[in-house]
Symmetry: C3
Subunit: 373 residues, 3 copies
Amino acid sequence: KEKFAVKSADGNWEWGIGGRIMADYAIYDNDTDSSGMEVPGLSDGHELRRARLNMSGKFYDVWGMKLQVDFAGGAEIKDAYIDYSGFENFKVKVGNFKEPFSLEELTSSKYITFMQRSTPVNAFAPSRNLGIAGYTSFADQVTLSGGVFGDGIESGSGDDGTSYGVTGRVTFSPIHEAGRVVHLGAAVSQRNTNSNNTVRFRDRFETHVSGTRLVDTADLTNTDDVTRYGLEAAGVWDRLSLQGEYIMADVNRDNGFEDADFDGFYLTGSFFLTDDHRPYDFGPGDFDKVSPSTTVGKGGIGAWEVAARYSSLDLNDGALNGGKQDLLTVGLNWYATKNIRFMANYNQVLDLKGGAFDGAEPAAFQARAQVFW
Amino acid sequence: KEKFAVKSADGNWEWGIGGRIMADYAIYDNDTDSSGMEVPGLSDGHELRRARLNMSGKFYDVWGMKLQVDFAGGAEIKDAYIDYSGFENFKVKVGNFKEPFSLEELTSSKYITFMQRSTPVNAFAPSRNLGIAGYTSFADQVTLSGGVFGDGIESGSGDDGTSYGVTGRVTFSPIHEAGRVVHLGAAVSQRNTNSNNTVRFRDRFETHVSGTRLVDTADLTNTDDVTRYGLEAAGVWDRLSLQGEYIMADVNRDNGFEDADFDGFYLTGSFFLTDDHRPYDFGPGDFDKVSPSTTVGKGGIGAWEVAARYSSLDLNDGALNGGKQDLLTVGLNWYATKNIRFMANYNQVLDLKGGAFDGAEPAAFQARAQVFW
Amino acid sequence: KEKFAVKSADGNWEWGIGGRIMADYAIYDNDTDSSGMEVPGLSDGHELRRARLNMSGKFYDVWGMKLQVDFAGGAEIKDAYIDYSGFENFKVKVGNFKEPFSLEELTSSKYITFMQRSTPVNAFAPSRNLGIAGYTSFADQVTLSGGVFGDGIESGSGDDGTSYGVTGRVTFSPIHEAGRVVHLGAAVSQRNTNSNNTVRFRDRFETHVSGTRLVDTADLTNTDDVTRYGLEAAGVWDRLSLQGEYIMADVNRDNGFEDADFDGFYLTGSFFLTDDHRPYDFGPGDFDKVSPSTTVGKGGIGAWEVAARYSSLDLNDGALNGGKQDLLTVGLNWYATKNIRFMANYNQVLDLKGGAFDGAEPAAFQARAQVFW
């Protein structure tokens, strides 16, 4: 198969090793904000965006585990969990993994349509934390998942307290076959704050080489808890795919500070120029690997895809002036093989209201070489 | 088999990849010390205790190597060595590995009975250092090991000097079959200090989520060398296992500072509720992997074990007031499969005399999910 | 074979895992400089010099990738690239890898003759950077390679600008069979500086345990660009091998600062006491793995090699006083198996003119245990 994997003779033990490399290059077209200043930190450059290795196992059909480390910028643990699926139609997972929130967040970075996830997803989705979660599904149409999570991985959170969150997600997919997908989803996540009582939302403008963030709430002090709500919809019709999400974050503050509401959404459309389509994975309720109908190196040209995304993130609320950003990204993806993809993205900030760089509308052209295994 | 391993067709080359994940959660019951202050840093929390990958090899039957890295909290090299066993009944090892000192220290963290090793072992045992060691055995009853070791792994110890230690261990095991083990051992380790001439002994109270240490000598300056002495005894009778150690550290100081003696011991008893037993490995003289007689996922319930440990660590000596701590831990272990274990520990400080938190007797309840491969 | 590798049944997917461990020990014989001061930082010590894991893949015969991480001192990515060789006699590579400059630099640290590469190579060769390069060859005699490279791997070089370099290399090898090699090479590399406009050349005296550098230009400010020129020659005649390089760095400065020229060379001779020889790899134009004719563990004594190297690095130019160092290294290598080597080096600084330690002539004795797989 396409994996570095081995299985014991008795079938009780399966092992696999995988990984991914993503190398990025970005050129920036800077712009002046309403005070006439250029945005700082937008120099052309490159980075190794992700360089990961993982090891996974399956034991006695019902036990599983995964350990994944990212070496781009030190060594950071991503997934580290054990799961058990020996119950009837129910899986439980313990360790460090993604909270069940947001279709785009749950879709692997190997399979997302653009080089970066959209700003509202990056700003709001909880991503990976240490916790325990359960997963079930009904009638091959509905999935339910939910769990309790602490903070991310730290060495000894008992030194200064940890925060806790409860997250649940439901998806409904009446159709999910090759080239025909309908997906609807909703999720909610409530999280208290740890001992420093702060929370912060921010994101880059869908480019990672530069660390500049145009929208940023800064630390919101005296925060009691945050509730996130997410709505998802996606569809695939042959070569065409549409996907959108709306996410809201409701910040509950005390000591006389006013509560705050932030939100954002994105809408993505993509179309394959070749005879290919985006595959959907019903169980986790996310998108999966594109397997091009022809392969470069076997006489084919791979799969070619064009895509556009409009995203909006509003971090302004009353006196809080984190900025509201509207952004358009267009992209071209070339899936040379099942595991090699080259990407080009052009990002244009359409409008920036408020925040530290009010009125600036920079743009980025960026490209990626990606392999996974 | 149960390992991700391959062997070349000619049998000259064998390769294996392994790893372990341990995810911990801890709740603390704080206490006031004799001055009425609560112990700081005892917040409930979680951590990824260990997340390791290793690769090992065997070449031409006589050469071996191992490289092991822990990713919990960055990337830290554990084992990194080459060994040669082509001599008659003699093995030599060079690189970074555990000095031959303490039964509990030498037993892998995958197989220890409680979530943490006992305080005297953590405070005194030298653990891994860069060095060279030899191993032999006699009459299937006696093992001898000894080596010379520098410091741990550093990049360029030549910049500020290194310390050196000599360590030797002898074990005597007249009986070591399934369900019947007698083990006696003794070890001694002498180590000079590096250019800063300090040594420090301390430990957490057998819980790691909180970094708080109730006993701590702080840096002992003007130290010339330290000699550690260890005595070990262990026995297995079917489901029952007993194990204990006594360790003393003799600190030799100069420039008019008085020498210091510290010591500690622990005693562990464990009992399987199921038809299982603790296996012993004669060669290295330590305990090995429990293979439950039935497996969860193959119709069984795994192995269930209850255990209790009493440990005492005395870091008071004359004017040196590091504290003396007596601690009781009770535990429940569930070995779901050969490689998956869930653990629950309750630790109660019975008595704390001296040190920074004199009189405080906090407790911890902690649980672990563990997988290795 | 000698690799941990697997291949899919259809032959489209090949995977391999490798690594290396090098553990060093060094003793220093210090010396006083012309002012009567001893060189600081030359304490005896040890270090884990390299501890690497890598994973490589080959897909559909034409695609390849490699990811290599060094864990000695944290986690640092070395190679991380994708390559494509589906063109006629042409390979293109994108990601992080070595720029094509210097025979000794391009030869793997697993196969170099001494524990450290020579000072001129360490001081001047660009080594690994993120970029794109192409490789071709003619008539089994000439290779051409060249590429465009940014900086090394950083997380978001767009924050403060990156520098760019263009590097090309040509090699000519009319003879390259077992025990008969002639190699000639030339390379040039031009690189501008990033936003801080500085460049620095320096190196240890071919020992790494101590970080002390006797020659060092310090940061040269107001630098516009640097052009490096390299010449290579090597030959193998049965057990005998000769190898030498000359490298010059031409620093172009502005704002009234004078340009600077630095250079250096080395000459290595090595001779096998056993019936062995150094193998050459025509494609990349570098030296390859010694496969001893007899193996320790299979009744043999391995391969034994003696070697000597004279190196000179001149970092003085006009008012710039980085120091000029002449160094002699003699070495003994024992290749116990194809993948295990023990090394001993004695380094003597013959002459040190200028720099911070003018007149100091320290020496080092150092040994290494090395395994790779």
